[in-house]
Symmetry: D2
Subunit: 95 residues, 4 copies
């Protein structure tokens, strides 16, 4: 059953705005390469997939970012429902 997961990367030891956005772009790059459906937002990217797929994705982001940044917070919000959750049902009326 597919659910959604919103991911926010917060580098804590960045030297510039460009470096902050550069690290965020790296994380979004991992998401884009996952093949899962996603939507980039101003402060987080929401991804749609099975729970196991999303856990694997978070692990890949961790492995990608850790060598690039001394200290960061990776926030993940899983929106779970027995009947499934998808991106469109949550924003269709606002697009």
């Amino acid at each position: 059953m597919k659910i959604t997961c919103s991911i926010r990367l917060l580098p804590l030891k960045a030297e510039s705005k460009d470096q902050i956005y550069g690290l965020v772009d790296e994380a979004i790059g991992v998401i884009a390469n996952s093949g899962l459906k996603y939507l980039v937002g101003p402060s987080e990217t929401t991804v749609e997939g099975e729970f196991s797929q999303l856990l694997k994705l978070i692990e890949e982001i961790y492995k990608k970012i850790t060598p690039l940044c001394d200290r960061y917070v990776l926030e993940v919000a899983f929106d779970c429902a027995k009947s499934g959750v998808n991106i469109d049902e949550k924003i269709a009326k606002y697009r």
Copy 2:
């Protein structure tokens, strides 16, 4: 100086998916009526404005939702910079 603020409403005592989304729509309605620039995402809405405008907006959402829902969590993430922060700089390359 304008910053951004991402707002997520999580009703904890809703009876159905429709009621959850109905309450979220009420909060987005308050944001839409504020006249501030905003973008609705799958799990949060990001608004652009002065800090004082954003605090006022959060208070209005609180006053709107409290009578409608016995228990809820309202999450707010302010993205603050001396030089200002705006929605476009964060997602332009992804739209």
Copy 3:
């Protein structure tokens, strides 16, 4: 290398305060049984462990809660550093 992970469970279709706290207690029960070091806070529980241990824990919470609750949000904040992160360094001076 050990890091910390703060976990917040938000049931969206609970009928009472007791049911909300009951579901949170179930999640804390999974954490307590993991053998990892943890600290319960008013709105989240922080756990210390290797990233792989923490991912496994999150999966166990997901498997425990999904049958018990139609719709919920599970929020996880990983605090990651190459040199490691632990609970004590973050709160020792405040205890």
Copy 4:
């Protein structure tokens, strides 16, 4: 009616672990001086008060931190209930 509010400060352009924790200590200092009941946790501090008191506190943290840090994210989670919410009901059994 008193509610709780969990506050997390994430400096994005800090040069060291000490500077990150130094900025967090500044924010906790503002909370401590507010006279409101609070509990420091590993990744956030939870405060108890009227909604208006909590908004005022967030504004004071904003005014304190902005001159000290070029870019930061201030996350706030209000836990709201008509019947009120307090710190003890949420953690008494775990202390």
